[in-house]
């Protein structure tokens, strides 16, 4: 994973950032040693469970919170000490925070008006923004008179109107129902491509993160655990937490039999040998016990002789496009595999002994 050369100046550069709330024994460390570069015009996602510090990080970038340590640079300029009104970033709030006493158009024009732009420019940009989010018909309504999805669009238009360098989005889709959320995901991606503005998106929804992002930072306990593209995060999780948080995963205890440069050969429970990929910075030696992860779609039911793993089927769950088959391996470890429902093959009955074949490169060693 080499950086493109020469490295362009990052849009947002965060170094050695920590944030502590409270003092003394009541102190709570919300962010610890955050190092992060966000590139210009990328869709960057901060992903993690609630309380992981992702919203605090967003609020530090926005200027609502000041860092306890470290620095934040936006477009090369140090922004410590600058308030939110002095930063070229705008926020889409989780609750939308539309001004209830203003119309949709007044809400959208507010930022430009505060920047002291002439009235005709405010009006023209507001009209453009209304068109961009397809809300022309609602311009004179109050926020209380439009639906949640429409409020979401207005909040987006309001934050985009002043043409910020960076748009910060704090779980903007969490209040919407599933269908609307899917629509808005596409919509957000379209807006980001059209405007070319850097998006920093906060979510706890791993599927949302995987489908929309150019890069994802997975956070837990105030730290960034892994940073990478959606496929890197999904296929090569470096930590147990990341593997567990994103998608369904099987964990296996294995023993390293041979250490190569990029990979290791490991002995699976049951004795079969298989190659496993290594995360950055982890080099186990032969004889070490390590944990590996296998995604459920990387295993197939095979015949006993060539199988890497064997076990007993406990049950099968039908999911429409695929079926999840739960297996207990010989040493008792539960293992789930996902099979596409292409043909009409019935899943094996509970109690059946099955062999499991793992795809090449299916195993990824993780840090505990």
């Amino acid at each position: 994973m080499s950086e493109p050369q020469p490295t362009p100046q990052p849009e947002i550069e965060i170094t050695g950032l920590s944030k502590v709330f409270g003092q003394g024994s009541a102190a709570f460390k919300a962010l610890t040693d955050i190092e992060l570069n966000i590139r210009t015009a990328e869709f960057f996602t901060l992903l993690g469970p609630s309380g992981c510090g992702k919203t605090t990080l967003l609020r530090v970038i926005a200027g609502f919170e000041q860092p306890s340590q470290g620095s934040v640079r936006i477009n090369g300029q140090e922004v410590a000490g600058l308030g939110p009104n002095a930063r070229p970033v705008n926020t889409v709030f989780q609750s939308y925070a539309l001004f209830p006493h203003m119309t949709v158009a007044q809400n959208i024009g507010f930022g430009l008006k505060m920047l002291g732009r002439p009235a005709d420019e405010v009006a023209a940009t507001t009209a453009d923004m209304l068109k961009l989010v397809q809300m022309e018909a609602m311009a004179d309504r109050k926020p209380s008179e439009i639906s949640g999805g429409q409020q979401q669009r207005v909040a987006l238009a309001r934050a985009l109107a002043p043409q910020p360098r960076v748009l910060l989005l704090d779980e903007p889709l969490s209040a919407l129902d599933l269908k609307l959320r899917k629509e808005m995901q596409t919509e957000l991606k379209r807006l980001q491509t059209e405007t070319g503005i850097t998006f920093v998106f906060v979510t706890h929804d791993q599927e949302e993160a995987l489908t929309m992002s150019d890069r994802i930072a997975v956070m837990s306990g105030g730290r960034i655990l892994q940073l990478g593209s959606p496929s890197e995060i999904y296929n090569s999780p470096s930590e147990r937490f990341v593997a567990d948080f994103i998608g369904d995963t099987n964990f296996l205890k294995v023993k390293v039999v041979e250490a190569l440069t990029e990979t290791v050969n490991v002995r699976l429970p049951g004795g079969a040998l298989h190659s496993a990929r290594l995360p950055d910075g982890l080099r186990p030696a032969a004889g070490d016990d390590v944990s590996v992860v296998v995604r459920p779609e990387q295993a197939t039911l095979g015949d006993g002789a060539k199988a890497h793993l064997t076990g007993t089927v406990t049950n099968s769950v039908f999911f429409g496009t695929d079926t999840h088959i739960h297996v207990n391996l010989e040493d008792g470890t539960p293992f789930t595999l996902r099979r596409q429902n292409a043909g009409n093959t019935a899943p094996p009955a509970p109690g059946t002994m099955v062999g499991l074949t793992l795809a090449d490169g299916a195993l990824q060693v993780i840090r505990e």
Binding site: P84, N85, A97, K142
Partner: protein, 304 residues
């Protein structure tokens, strides 16, 4: 199953009957005395106070006009009464503005404390209410009089050589009323701020608004209902205030409440007192109507 409309109506009739004791009390206690005041304002004054049962519009005439004692044909505007009326309205309006200007930061301070502390601050704001009004007013007098706390302190520090006369001035009355009625402004303002979504303030800052601009474009419009409620709650008791202008304003700086009391006491002109009380009621009701209209207009704007 369709319900019988007659039965529903009958049940409503019974419910109405149950309310009659309360209605009787309301009619007797609220409307009764008011009717007596209206009636008295159209009667003639009795010799030793009270009223003589003789119809007269003289009381109403004398509210605004005066007739020369020696030359009954010489009718002039009753400037003494109009001055009292004007002072009442003007002092009450100023009291309302002072309470609003000082009450807003106070309410803001309370509303931005951690939730657990707010109760304590609200408690501190309402504590003066538990003390007798007269005692509190005398306490202010103690501070303002010529050899009171403020003048003594200023003279001791050498800022002034002679005491500044502050008692029996409009300033003294204003100070007293603003102090007494402040909680009535702070509480509705606090209620409005408590309901306010503080993320809107953040949204304002995020959209490049300065602190002043956030105050003007976001906070003030949102707490406006609190301002309107607080203003009415301060203005109405101010305009009828009796104790504060009596103690701090003395005989010269009279307000409507004192003038009314005078007519029922030394003045021995109950019909004039009753007419003045009606004038006070009319001013109060007008203020209330204006208030309700302002609130409705705001609601209309929000809905339409």
């Amino acid at each position: 199953m369709a319900s019988d409309p007659n039965q529903t109506e009958e049940r409503h009739g019974w419910k109405w009957l149950l309310a009659t004791p309360a209605l009787i009390v309301l009619v007797l206690a609220a409307s009764g005395p008011l009717m007596i005041v209206v009636l008295y304002s159209f009667l003639s004054p009795g010799n030793m106070g009270g009223v003589a049962w003789e119809f007269s519009t003289d009381a109403w005439f004398r509210v605004f006009m005066r007739r020369d004692i020696f030359d009954p044909e010489n009718v002039t505007v009753n400037q003494a009464h109009l001055a009292v009326l004007w002072r009442s309205v003007w002092l009450s309006a100023q009291t309302t503005v002072i309470c609003a200007v000082l009450g807003f930061p106070t309410a803001w301070f309370i509303a931005t404390r951690p939730p657990g502390q707010r109760t304590v601050w609200l408690f501190l704001i309402t504590i003066p209410f538990w003390t007798n009004l007269l005692i509190r007013t005398f306490a202010i007098q103690e501070m303002l009089r010529n050899n009171g706390t403020i003048n003594t302190a200023l003279m001791w520090m050498g800022v002034i050589n002679e005491p500044i006369p502050m008692m029996f001035t409009d300033f003294a009355v204003l100070l007293g009323m603003a102090y007494v009625f402040m909680p009535l402004m702070v509480l509705p303002l606090y209620a409005a701020m408590d309901k306010m979504d503080f993320r809107l303030v953040e949204a304002g800052y995020d959209l490049y608004a300065s602190r002043i601009a956030v105050l003007r474009h976001v906070i003030l419009p949102l707490v406006k209902p609190g301002f309107i409620a607080g203003s009415i709650l301060v203005f109405i008791p101010s305009i009828g205030a009796y104790v504060t202008p009596r103690v701090l304003g003395g005989g010269q700086k009279m307000m409507l409440g004192n003038l009314i009391a005078l007519q029922f006491g030394q003045g021995r002109n109950w019909p004039l007192g009753a007419a003045l009380a009606m004038v006070l009621l009319i001013i109060t009701v007008t203020a209330l109507v204006l208030y309700l209209r302002a609130v409705n207009r705001q609601e209309d704007k929000r809905d339409g």
